[in-house]
């Protein structure tokens, strides 16, 4: 482990931090065409993430276009406003409960 390694205070590689740094670098477009050092950092970061996932690198991780799009697609769906019908439904179920208990 070198000084570039991303680690938590307990010495374990911090996957979250590694992901952040990776996506930051990718947004900057840095390491695709810059020198060795950037690639080394990327290797170390990817390695830190890979170790957390029992060895093999993550094929749907931040290095992967498919992985990034998948998360973008899903996050958009998750952040969609929830219609009122669902909280109304749960309130109805709650009200209906005492009646069920009598049966």
């Amino acid at each position: 482990m070198g000084g570039n390694d991303v680690s938590r205070p307990d010495g374990q590689p911090d996957e979250g931090a590694a992901c952040l740094v990776l996506s930051y670098y990718e947004r900057l477009g840095c390491w695709d065409y810059k020198g060795e050092m950037k690639n080394m950092t990327k290797d170390i970061l990817t390695g830190a993430m890979g170790r957390r996932r029992n060895g093999a690198g993550d094929p749907l991780g931040p290095n992967s276009e498919i992985g990034r799009k998948l998360k973008q697609y899903y996050d958009e769906l998750v952040s969609d406003d929830v219609p009122d019908r669902f909280s109304q439904l749960l309130s109805q179920l709650e009200k209906a409960e005492p009646a069920q208990k009598k049966d």
Partner: protein
């Protein structure tokens, strides 16, 4: 029947955005998805006693939703597997430039996957489940999930014309972009 606790209700409410996202991913239709979520909530409420507190509520709910989805499909007599063919030809996707892939194209590509592959790649790549959890949700072996995810990924790359990205680790990407691999 034991009363449903307030905590359980709050947790159900909190899970709705994820349930809706998973339901849309499965059905590819917003209205059907919301009906599916509604069914799931009613089922979950009815059998709340079978949920073990302290275990993963989200995984439990996803299992119910998924079972409901497939049982509805069977009732309608629809063929579950919609593998290669029919849909594939309908959508022409422009070759994606690296990192420039449009979300609309991606959605279209995702739609073309067979259900089993689509759900696997969503559970692993987007919903944040482990392979073990996804296997539990889908009622299959961990190895089956792994191969479905892998086939889904390959298929998406084909449809979107992304050439084998990160197939050989990070070096392949930099090589691709700098063009060193081509020489």
């Amino acid at each position: 029947m034991a009363a449903v606790s307030q905590g359980f209700k709050t947790d159900l409410l909190g899970a709705i955005p994820s349930l809706r996202a998973f339901a849309v991913s499965l059905t590819q239709n917003a209205d059907k998805a919301d009906d599916l979520v509604q069914e799931t909530l009613v089922k979950a409420w009815d059998k709340h006693e079978s949920f073990q507190p302290g275990t993963n509520l989200k995984a439990w709910l996803f299992t119910i939703l998924r079972n409901e989805f497939y049982s509805q499909m069977r009732k309608r007599g629809r063929e579950v597997q919609d593998s290669d063919g029919i849909m594939t030809a309908r959508l022409a996707v422009h070759p994606a430039q690296h990192g420039q892939l449009d979300l609309k194209d991606f959605r279209g590509a995702l739609e073309q996957l067979p259900e089993d592959q689509r759900e696997a790649i969503i559970l692993i790549g987007a919903s944040g489940f482990s392979y073990e959890e996804a296997a539990e949700i889908c009622g299959c072996a961990v190895g089956t999930i792994k191969s479905r995810v892998s086939r889904a990924r390959t298929r998406l790359q084909e449809i979107l014309k992304i050439s084998g990205e990160d197939e050989y680790g990070p070096d392949a990407i930099s090589a691709q972009v700098t063009g060193t691999a081509a020489h």
